[in-house]
């Protein structure tokens, strides 16, 4: 695998007022690399993506995309948002949503073109969504919509795929399918993936490294280096158990005291 870097964090720091979200984050994301970003609620996972998209001002350091400071979004980025039920009554079908990933940024009318249609139908086929091409997005199931979202994110051959909890609200089977789809598209396109999730298990087989955020600090490394009781206990500043069972990983007692809903199998 090429070690060419797609995304560079250079001592990047972000704070809101006095609260430091993360500090001196230094990380180089290589081409084709799959990194899971995990951590409890409020640990700064989603704002990390916002910073990469240039929507938040860093309080220190820099983030560079393809050697240039990040700007307001980029065509080199494919973005997969969290699943949200789409409104009904919008003039938008699955294939239209997909096409916007290819040429939605261009001026003028979306005139029919055989070249575009070909790309769109190839992509629909690749994610197994040919049968729902003409379905209004408000009528798609969660798994169907997220499959279209993956297709939309990769159709323009981005060099970086950012996924913000793309599996939340999906059942286990759909989680597996969508995670596998993102991974296979990464392998075909050679794009790097930054995958924000609160549950590492659906992507455990695919990830190269883990970026674990907690308490304004972070750890980076392979899952075996980071997802360990001693490492995470040190990160959280108190006793945390990492339990492995049948290929699944759970972090117990990782919650901040005011977030009891996080006290569950990660």
């Amino acid at each position: 695998m090429a070690t060419e870097s797609v995304l560079e964090f250079k001592k990047a720091s972000l704070s809101f007022g006095d609260k430091s979200i993360w500090k001196d984050l230094t990380l180089s994301v290589a081409k084709g690399e799959f990194i899971a970003v995990i951590g409890s609620n409020g640990s700064g996972k989603t704002v990390l993506l916002k910073a990469i998209l240039g929507q938040l001002q860093l309080s220190g350091g820099a983030i560079e995309l393809l050697g240039k400071p990040v700007a307001n979004g980029s065509r080199a980025i494919g973005y997969i948002p969290q699943h949200r039920q789409a409104d009904t009554g919008l003039p938008l079908r699955a294939k239209d949503l997909l096409r916007m990933g290819l040429d939605g940024h261009r001026f003028g009318l979306p005139l029919p073109s055989s070249k575009t249609n070909k790309k769109v139908s190839e992509m629909l086929e690749a994610v197994g969504a040919t049968d729902i091409a003409n379905t209004p997005i408000g009528q798609l199931s969660g798994g169907q919509l997220q499959r279209i979202r993956v297709a939309q994110a990769v159709i323009d051959n981005p060099q970086l795929i950012l996924a913000d909890e793309p599996l939340s609200a999906l059942d286990l089977k759909q989680q597996g399918l969508v995670a596998e789809l993102i991974n296979s598209r990464r392998q075909q396109n050679g794009a790097a993936v930054l995958f924000v999730t609160h549950d590492v298990n659906p992507v455990l087989d695919y990830i190269d490294r883990v970026l674990y955020l907690a308490n304004g600090q972070f750890r980076i490394g392979t899952p075996d280096e980071v997802l360990r009781s001693d490492v995470l206990s040190k990160l959280y500043g108190r006793s945390v158990d990492v339990v492995r069972n049948q290929g699944r990983i759970a972090v117990l007692g990782s919650s901040d005291h005011d977030h009891h809903d996080d006290e569950k199998w990660l």
């Binding site: 998209l53 929507q55 700007a71 307001n72 979004g73 980029s74 065509r75 980025i77 973005y79 948002p81 009554g89 919008l90 003039p91 938008l92 079908r93 239209d96 949503l97 916007m100 990933g101 040429d103 939605g104 940024h105 261009r106 001026f107 003028g108 009318l109 979306p110 209004p136 408000g138 939309q152 994110a153 950012l162």
Partner: protein, 281 residues
């Protein structure tokens, strides 16, 4: 009944309202097109808010003896800029519109109360004109509609992306904020033009109802604007033709046609989903 519909001397009347028909056709095309974005951006209430300030602008222009069209446009643009700047979030936007609207209406009523000219001029700004669009006015309407339609065609794709899928559009580098402001300015022009024909209180019949009807019938990004445009043109031009003999304002005819189309669209939608469920079951 004769006051409502009078088709005697029809052949002689048509040439007299040629201007109005041209204006109606253009207003319909413009209203139908921009209406689709009003719906997808959830801006129906903003249309109402802008139209009240447009009314205020027109009323002040009438009072001080300036060009009414210019006044309407100025009022619209001020409202659109305020809404665009202060109301970037949906929740803020609605409260800001609700605050602006009565203020605009109040100023407009004050200006009309002070105005000592023809009473028909006053009433027309709120509820629509009697069919008599003069040459300078028709020129103004044509110019405005062309600007709006051309502007929409230029930004169509990125504006659709930003309206329908804002999160991803922003991530892909689409200038969603700038497009939002461009859209508000185009909307302001569309409202100002419509106010002069159907009146401030009834602008939504052109800028919202046809698009709402179209979206009941199709999810295609091609057919939605086309149907919306056809519905709006049928409503305005049909309304003018029906109103021709009676000497009443055209707005009740336009609003009724537009509403009837919406009802039919809902019935068709209902029938369609009904058959689908039957087939499935």
């Amino acid at each position: 009944m004769e006051r409502l519909f009078d088709f005697s001397d029809y052949d002689q009347l048509i040439p007299l309202v040629q201007n109005s028909l041209i204006a109606g056709l253009l207003l319909g095309i413009m209203g139908g097109l921009i209406g689709v974005f009003v719906m997808t951006r959830d801006m129906s209430f903003a249309v109402h808010g802008i139209s009240e300030l447009s009314f205020a602008g027109a009323a002040i222009a009438l009072l001080v003896g300036l060009n009414v069209a210019l006044g309407a446009t100025f009022g619209s643009i001020v409202a659109a800029i305020i809404i665009a700047i202060l109301g970037s979030r949906a929740k803020d936007r609605n409260s800001i519109i609700a605050v602006l609207m009565p203020f605009g209406l109040g100023i407009g009523i004050l200006a009309l109360a002070l105005y000592e000219g023809r009473a028909a001029n006053k009433f027309g700004l709120l509820t629509g004109q009697i069919i008599a669009v003069d040459d300078p006015q028709v020129f103004w309407l044509i110019a405005t509609s062309l600007v709006v339609v051309f502007g929409l065609l230029v930004v169509w794709r990125p504006l659709s992306f930003a309206s329908l899928d804002p999160e991803v559009a922003e991530a892909r580098g689409v200038p969603t904020k700038a497009l939002g402001i461009v859209f508000m300015l185009l909307l302001a022009l569309a409202v100002a033009a419509s106010v002069q024909v159907v009146g401030a209180l009834l602008v939504m019949t052109l800028l919202v109802t046809p698009a709402a009807a179209a979206l009941r019938l199709t999810s295609s990004p091609l057919w939605a604007p086309l149907l919306s445009m056809i519905f709006a043109v049928v409503s305005v031009v049909g309304g003018i033709l029906l109103a021709l003999g009676g000497g009443l304002p055209i707005s009740p005819y336009v609003t009724t046609l537009s509403f009837a189309i919406y009802l039919v669209a809902r019935v068709i939608e209902k029938l369609r989903t009904g058959t689908k469920t039957k087939q499935a079951g």
